[in-house]
Assembly symmetry: C2
Homo-oligomer: 217 residues x 2
């Protein structure tokens, strides 16, 4: 019975890492689709929504069973409560990647991005994928130090995000308002993806240390 | 002991409604500050962050105690698990209202909005506050019908949101790119606030019916 219970907890942790991997893959392919105006890749990314949502719903159902049948306490309970938050963050990360792919599909065959912001989005995509990869690692290892580093990486994303405002606000921005609106929304999607990796990191820190976070906005 | 336990569950539900009320107030005052470029009101809205975050953290801590000490099952467990999701949604609603106020402060003494979109934002603010008010009612009554209505109200917000894109994309939009960028971000904040009320409604439906949601993105 006890062994079975520990197996279920291990499976729940591994399943979170798997959902994170799907969100990471979605972000990688959404960014590639964005930079190359690749409709097929955008469609593939969008179709990953079903799998991510199904896994998240399954995770919640499994977690509910464990809570109902095993009444975990102490660290095990923290694992469950943190996981309930984390699965929502991971699902949202997937949703944001899919929003990017949806915009690619809506504008196809046109490119969403003018050439001078492509570099910024390539960097944002790279940072986002790195953050998701580190998040997956944090979920598997529960390494609080790695989780703390993730919180710092967010600053690189914030700086890239700010640079977009500088570009679109320049008096000589030649691409008109609708393109600036697309760039603004896309920038927000990347920034929010990054924020959610930080939320997951905070939850893992809570899980390990038992300290409730104070600074969440 | 049992009475004490029921009291704690009731208090947890009432506390969620209270956090929702704070998010609603923040949205009402943020919208007023936005429409009148009122710096003082923007500052007041921003300062509500501390109270919302503190109440949310306190809620989580109390919920953790109940889970650890009482091992609730069935409906009581659903109340707790739903609540863990809901408190995150409510806190985020407060955060989005505060984002609006922060933009008002950043642009002051200028108005963020040109006159022709003021009406749309007045409507978005009204819908958002109505949704938050209905959400509070749903949290207090656990009325699944009212929760289902809330999911429909989201469509009014989506339509208002779409109308913003039509306005900023018009060839004769005379206010330049930076203003369109502000309008785009603000529109997104209102839309996301509305989305979170729908998430809360879905959670209450789960709470009442025990049916896991399938369509969340």
């Amino acid at each position: 019975m006890r062994e079975n219970y520990n197996n279920r907890l291990d499976t729940l942790s591994a399943d979170l890492a798997e959902i994170c991997r799907l969100a990471e893959d979605a972000m990688a392919s959404a960014t590639k689709a964005l930079l190359t105006a690749d409709l097929g890749l955008a469609e593939t990314t969008i179709s990953s929504r079903e799998q991510i949502d199904a896994l998240a719903a399954q995770w919640e159902q499994n977690a509910f069973s464990v809570l109902a049948l095993q009444s975990p306490v102490a660290l095990d309970l923290r694992i469950m409560v943190s996981g309930i938050h984390i699965v929502a963050d991971l699902q949202r990360m997937g949703g944001l990647a899919i929003h990017i792919a949806e915009l690619v599909r809506r504008r196809h065959p046109a490119h969403v991005l003018p050439a001078e912001v492509e570099g910024v989005f390539a960097d944002m995509g790279r940072v986002a994928v790195e953050q998701a990869d580190a998040t997956r690692e944090v979920l598997l290892t529960r390494d609080a130090d790695l989780a703390s580093e993730l919180r710092l990486k967010d600053e690189a994303m914030d700086e890239l995000h700010r640079s977009l405002f500088t570009l679109t606000a320049a008096p000589d921005w030649p691409h008109g308002v609708p393109t600036a609106v697309d760039v603004t929304l896309l920038g927000r999607f990347y920034e929010r993806f990054s924020d959610h990796t930080v939320e997951v990191a905070k939850r893992v820190i809570f899980l390990v240390t038992g300290e409730f976070r104070r600074d969440e906005a």
